[in-house]
C-alpha cells in the first residue's frame, strides 16, 4: 500500500520538476543562441512570460475539426508528462514496477502522433505539409530510440525500467560494440528527437509557418509549447540515464543529493550541446533528413544484430 503512495508522490514530484525546469531550459537555449549570434537576447525567464501570456489569450478554434484539435493539444502535454513519471530523474523511477520500457516506447511514439493529429485536424495546406513531413521523419526515426532501449533489454534480459535505464547498453562482458554504436547514433540524431534546429522540419517557421501548430492560438498553443519544452528535458534525462548513468543510484541521503545534482548537471550539459548545435546549423531539407535518418536506422539495426549475438 505504502509503495503505491510513494509511486504517486514520486510521479507528482517528477511531473512538477519537469514543469518547473522545462521553460528554464528553453530560456537558457534562447539566451545562449542569442549570445552565439552576438545578440543580448531575452531574459532567462522569458518562456515563463510567453506561456503565461498565451494562457491568458483568446482561444480561437479555427481548424477543420476543432474537437480533434482540442484533443491533440491536451494529449500532447499529457503524454509528455506521463513519460516524465516513467523516467528516473536523479532517483529511481517512481513507476518502476508498474510500467516497463514497452510502455515508454509506446508513449514516446504517441508524442509524435499528437503533432500528426494536430496537423490533420487543422486542415490547412501548410499544416498538412507539416503533418506529412512529421509522419515521414517519425517512421524513420522512432525505431532508433526503440532499438536503443531494446539493445539494453537484450543485454540485461529484462524489460524493467530501473534495469534498462541504467547504462544497460554497455552491459556486455567484453567491449560493448552495440552500445557504442547506439551512443554515436543517438548523439547524431538527438536534435531530431527534441525537434530542434537542423531537424525541426515539420514545423519550419520560415517556410511552413509552424506547420501543424498553425491554427492554434492562446492556451492550446501554450500546451503544445510546454510539451515541446518538456520534451527537451525528458529526452535529455533519458539520454543521460541510458548512456552516461555513472555516479547515480546511491540512496544514502547525502550521497544521493550529490548524485542528484550530478544528474541534473549532466542534463544541463546535454541541453547546452543541443543549443550550440541548434544555434550553429541551418535546417535540412526533408529529403536530406530522411536519407540521414535512414543511415542512422541502418546503423541501429547493425547494433541490434551485434547485441543479439552478445557483443
Amino acid at each position: 500500500m505504502s509503495s503505491v503512495i510513494w509511486r504517486i508522490v514520486g510521479g507528482v514530484l517528477n511531473v512538477g520538476i519537469v514543469l518547473l525546469v522545462a521553460p528554464l531550459g528553453q530560456g537558457v537555449l534562447r539566451k545562449v543562441t542569442a549570445r552565439v549570434q552576438s545578440r543580448q537576447g531575452p531574459p532567462l525567464w522569458q518562456p515563463y512570460f510567453d506561456l503565461l501570456k498565451l494562457l491568458g489569450k483568446e482561444d480561437i478554434e479555427s481548424g477543420e475539426t476543432p474537437r480533434m484539435q482540442r484533443f491533440a493539444a491536451y494529449l500532447s502535454l499529457a503524454t509528455v508528462l506521463a513519460v516524465a513519471c516513467l523516467v528516473p530523474m536523479g532517483f529511481a523511477s517512481p513507476m518502476n514496477g508498474a510500467a516497463d520500457i514497452i510502455l515508454l516506447i509506446y508513449l514516446l511514439t504517441l508524442c509524435g502522433i499528437c503533432t500528426l493529429l494536430a496537423g490533420l485536424a487543422a486542415g490547412s495546406t501548410y499544416s498538412l505539409v507539416g503533418a506529412s513531413r512529421e509522419m515521414m521523419s517519425m517512421i524513420a526515426l522512432e525505431p532508433v530510440f526503440a532499438i536503443a532501449l531494446i539493445v539494453g533489454a537484450l543485454h540485461t534480459g529484462s524489460f524493467r525500467l530501473d534495469t534498462v535505464l541504467n547504462g544497460s547498453v554497455y552491459g556486455t562482458a567484453g567491449v560493448p560494440w552495440s552500445g557504442l554504436i547506439m551512443l554515436a547514433v543517438m548523439i547524431l540524431s538527438f536534435q531530431a528527437f527534441v525537434q530542434r534546429v537542423p531537424f525541426d522540419i515539420s514545423e519550419a517557421e520560415t517556410e511552413l509557418m509552424e506547420g501543424p501548430l498553425m491554427e492554434y492560438s492562446g492556451p492550446k498553443l501554450a500546451l503544445f509549447k510546454y510539451a515541446q519544452m518538456a520534451k527537451l528535458v525528458i529526452y535529455s534525462a533519458l539520454f543521460v540515464r541510458m548512456f552516461v548513468p555513472w555516479g547515480a543510484g546511491f540512496t544514502f541521503p547525502l550521497a544521493g543529493l550529490v548524485f542528484w545534482a550530478m544528474f541534473w548537471a549532466k542534463v544541463a550539459v546535454v541541453v547546452l550541446v543541443v543549443t550550440l548545435v541548434a544555434a550553429t546549423h541551418a535546417r535540412y531539407r526533408i529529403d536530406q533528413a530522411i536519407r540521414f535518418f535512414a543511415g542512422m536506422f541502418a546503423a541501429a539495426l547493425g547494433a541490434l544484430v551485434l547485441a543479439s549475438y552478445g557483443y
Binding site: Q37, G41, K53, G56, E58
Partner: protein, 186 residues
C-alpha cells in the same frame, strides 16, 4: 478572457491577477510577420544583432496571425492591401495591439493619392503611432515601451484599448475603395 470582462469591480484580487497577467503580456509581445514597404526594412533591422528586439521579449515574429499579439503596420497601406490588413487584424486573438510605424501608415505620408489609405487607423484601432520616414529601430523600440506602459493599465474589469471602428470612418473607407475601383478599368 472575454467572459470575464466587465464582470468585476476593481478589488485587491483582481488587481493582483491583472498585475501578473499584464507583466506577462507586456513582456511577451509577439509581432505578426509582415511588412508593407520600406519601414519593414527598419522593422527587420530591429531584430538584428545590433538592435535586438529580443531584449523586449518581442523576438518571436509569428508567421500565423492566430499566434501573434502585435501588428506592426510598417509602410504604405494601399487600398488594395487595406482589406487584407484588416483581415489579418480580425484573425488575431484578443487581446491584440497595433503599432502604426512610419508616416505612410499613420497619415498616408507623401502619398495623397487615389490609391493610398490615408492612415491605417481608418480600418484598425491603432495604439501607438511612430513618426519618421522611415523611423529608426530605436523609434520602434520607444513605441514598444510606450505600448508596454499602455498594457500596464489594462485590467480584467475594463480594457482601455477599446478604440473601435467609427461608422463614418468605415463609410469613408468604402467610398475610397469604390473610387479606386472605378478608376481602375476592368
Amino acid at each position: 478572457m472575454s467572459w470575464l470582462q466587465n464582470k468585476f469591480e476593481k478589488n485587491f484580487m483582481i488587481s493582483t491577477v491583472d498585475y501578473v497577467f499584464n507583466w506577462a503580456r507586456k513582456s511577451a509581445l509577439w509581432p505578426m510577420t509582415f511588412g508593407l514597404a520600406c519601414c519593414a526594412i527598419e522593422m527587420i533591422a530591429s531584430s538584428t544583432a545590433r538592435f535586438d528586439i529580443a531584449r523586449f521579449g518581442s523576438e518571436v515574429f509569428r508567421p500565423s496571425p492566430r499566434q501573434s499579439d502585435l501588428m506592426i503596420v510598417s509602410g504604405t497601406v494601399t487600398l488594395k492591401m487595406a482589406p487584407i490588413v484588416k483581415r489579418i487584424y480580425d484573425q488575431m486573438p484578443e487581446p491584440k495591439w497595433v503599432i502604426s510605424m512610419g508616416a505612410c501608415s499613420s497619415v498616408g505620408g507623401p502619398f495623397n493619392t487615389y490609391a493610398v489609405l490615408q492612415g491605417v487607423d481608418r480600418i484598425v484601432p491603432v495604439d501607438v503611432y511612430v513618426i519618421g520616414c522611415p523611423p529608426r529601430p530605436e523609434n520602434l523600440f520607444y513605441a514598444l515601451l510606450k505600448l508596454q506602459d499602455k498594457i500596464d493599465t489594462m485590467s480584467l474589469a475594463k480594457r482601455p484599448t477599446e478604440v473601435r471602428l467609427d461608422e463614418s470612418m468605415m463609410e469613408n473607407f468604402k467610398r475610397q475603395v469604390m473610387v479606386a475601383q472605378t478608376m481602375q478599368p476592368k
